[in-house]
Amino acid sequence: MTARERLKDAVPSIVLLVVAAFYAYTATAYDPQTRAMPLGVALIAILLVVLDLVSRGEGALARNLRRVLQGSGAKAPVPGLDGQAGQRHPALRELGAFAWIGGFLALVILVGFYPAIPIYMVAYLRFYAKKPLVAAVATAAVVTGLLYAMFELLLGYSVFEGLIMGDYM
């Protein structure tokens, strides 16, 4: 592993380290009873992340740490709950997945659930999944219809209607 790769590998741990340190720093402002637990946990988190970072190396210390703590390299990911664990996809595709989710969320915030759901579903099925337009429209109609029937008609509960429609968050 080159130094560059090793650094890249350590990025998540470093992010966690920064978050935990910031959390611990925030905690110091509270009075002793109130901060005891959060501060303690944050410090333990920092310790564990540091151990994780150390155990990534190739020296004897790192190897022993891995053996005792079942650190990063101890065990190959098992298929199962985290079945896709460690599986790498191109970053662009990962961003694409979140772009669809983010786009849908933005649409919901703007126009509310009932218009947003069919728009998103048809767009996704037609343009991303390349499904026939009929199938896309039918799926969107069924899902939206069922949600509408259950909430509006059966329970008389109105879901978010969108900032444009004057609903507030």
Partner: protein, 501 residues
């Protein structure tokens, strides 16, 4: 008591009582299946609809919901790696791997049988325990709550999936998230960073939707294809295999039910802990602990049995002292009050038939929900063969509506999406998610009760060891932490002896 039961049975058969029960069961199933929507939301939305009907009918409706929700939640946990309600989070651990292997039918069968039998056991235990309910509740004080929370946190040890260090890191961050928001003990607001949404802390349900449902959506989007790795197995896998497995592992079922009913009775700790505890005890007492997390059917039976049994248990504090045993019970208490009933021991004295109606309908609903689902289980299992491109937008739409409906808050929806990113990054960088979830559930309970214990004992640490029940729980904690270690030593000794001969 028997008289009241007879009255309830009479009411159920007459005047459309059965219809309310059936409607309640269906609503419960649907609300259980949709991530985010669970018992509290279903009951809260139904309260206004019960104004027009009499109290017994309202009990049939509520009991139907309460009995059906836990099983409904297991359906998505098994098929889509997405717990429908929080207590089903433990079910994903072995349920989804079974689905990946094409055994969705068997997993659903096992969950259905375990749920119905667990539900029946829970009500049975409630009946037996009712005369001493008050004594049981009074045994639990803050030191015991704290020890119970620690015992629940020990479940983290078996859920780290062979990645102990990363599991512990995830657990620490889970605790840190749990501490965000209003601190009930000091009245201070912590870690809100000026965002008023955070005054109430990060809501668990939207976070769960993110960690499981949305992270799963991203995984499916990236993986493509269909959920089942082995499509040909899906059609072969038999629902009845799952049902029979429950009888074969009757000990697991019984243990899960008892844990569910007992822990469910402890206010504030509730069903999720019960499910995790039941799961972790099953793993620890199993001859083959390594097979868990890879699709062991016992890993489905254990949490599901405890999930339904807890419904019976959570009625205990409500009946003994008018205190809700769970979020769902809190809403249910509201329903009782609006129907002019005062929750608490007076219910048993003045309105016994109302309570027996509720218990009866919870018991029937847990069986009914399973039967309804078993009837369509084969069709449900076929979902795992569907092109994921259809599943992705459907799951996403439904999950986000579920996140919203919990508190009618778009902020919850945003939290769900943020936790979706966190959940995906955890998969990507190989951090187990269950430790995070367990810690988020238990962080507040553990902290508040620890501080209360210290206040009660005036700072004397021995309070956890001098109270008998607390001491027992403490010993269980030690036992549960040392079992894997003892096992490891035994195995090594056996291995070295074998090597010698």
């Amino acid at each position: 008591m028997l008289e009241a039961v007879a009255t309830s049975v009479g009411a159920l058969t007459a005047s459309g009582g059965a219809i309310y029960l059936f409607v309640g069961t269906l609503v419960g199933l649907v609300f259980g299946i949709i991530p985010g929507l669970g018992g509290p939301t279903a009951l809260a939305l139904l309260i206004p609809l019960t104004f027009g009907i009499d109290t017994t009918a309202a009990m049939f409706l509520a009991g139907g919901i309460m009995g059906a929700i836990p099983f409904g939640g297991s359906v998505t946990a098994i098929l889509l790696n997405t717990p429908g309600t929080a207590p089903n989070a433990a079910t994903v651990y072995d349920g989804y791997p079974m689905t990946k292997k094409g055994q969705a039918g068997a997993a659903l069968g096992a969950a259905a049988a375990a749920s119905s039998l667990g539900g029946l056991f829970g009500i049975l235990i409630l009946f037996m325990v009712l005369p001493v309910a008050r004594e049981i509740i009074l045994m639990f004080s803050p030191p015991e709550f704290f020890m119970l929370a620690v015992l629940g946190l020990c479940a983290i040890a078996v859920s780290t999936d062979g990645k102990m260090l990363k599991g512990l890191i995830a657990a620490c961050f889970g605790l840190m998230i749990a501490f965000v928001g209003y601190d009930n003990v000091s009245g201070a607001v912590r870690f809100d960073y000026g965002i008023d949404y955070l005054w109430d802390g990060i809501s668990l349900i939207p976070a769960l939707i993110g960690l499981f449902a949305i992270a799963q959506i991203v995984s499916l989007y990236l993986a493509g294809g269909s959920i089942a790795d082995n499509p040909s197995a899906v059609r072969v896998s038999r629902v009845s295999d799952g049902i029979f497995a429950v009888f074969r592992y009757w000990k697991t079922l019984l243990r899960g039910s008892v844990i569910g009913a007992v822990i469910g009775a402890v206010p504030g700790v509730g069903g999720t802990v019960a499910a995790f505890l039941s799961y972790s005890v099953t793993v620890q007492t199993s001859r083959d602990p390594d097979s868990f997390g890879k699709g062991n059917i016992e890993g489905v039976i254990a949490p599901e049995a405890s999930n339904n049994a807890r419904e019976g248990g959570s009625l205990i504090p409500t009946l003994a002292f008018g205190i809700p045993g769970s979020a769902e019970m809190a809403v249910f208490l509201g329903l009782l009050v609006l129907h002019g009933l005062q929750p608490g021991p007076s219910l048993l004295i003045n309105h016994l038939d109302v309570i027996t109606s509720l218990m009866l309908s919870i018991a029937i609903a847990s069986v009914l929900a399973s039967i309804v689902c078993l009837a369509v289980a084969r069709q449900l299992a076929l979902i795992t063969l569907v092109d994921v491109n259809y599943l992705v937008p459907v799951i996403l739409s439904v999950s986000l509506v579920g996140a919203y409906a919990l508190e009618s808050s778009m902020h919850d929806v945003i939290v769900a999406v943020i936790f979706g990113a966190i959940g995906y990054l955890m998969i990507r960088f190989d951090y187990p998610r269950l430790p995070l979830v367990i810690a988020m559930f238990l962080g507040e309970v553990a902290e508040v009760n620890f501080r209360q214990s210290m206040m009660i004992a005036r700072g004397d640490w021995t309070v956890f060891l001098t109270r008998p029940l607390s001491l027992v729980l403490f010993l269980l904690v030690i036992l549960s932490l040392s079992v894997p270690f003892i096992r490891y030593l035994l195995r090594r000794r056996r291995a070295s002896r074998e090597a010698l001969t």
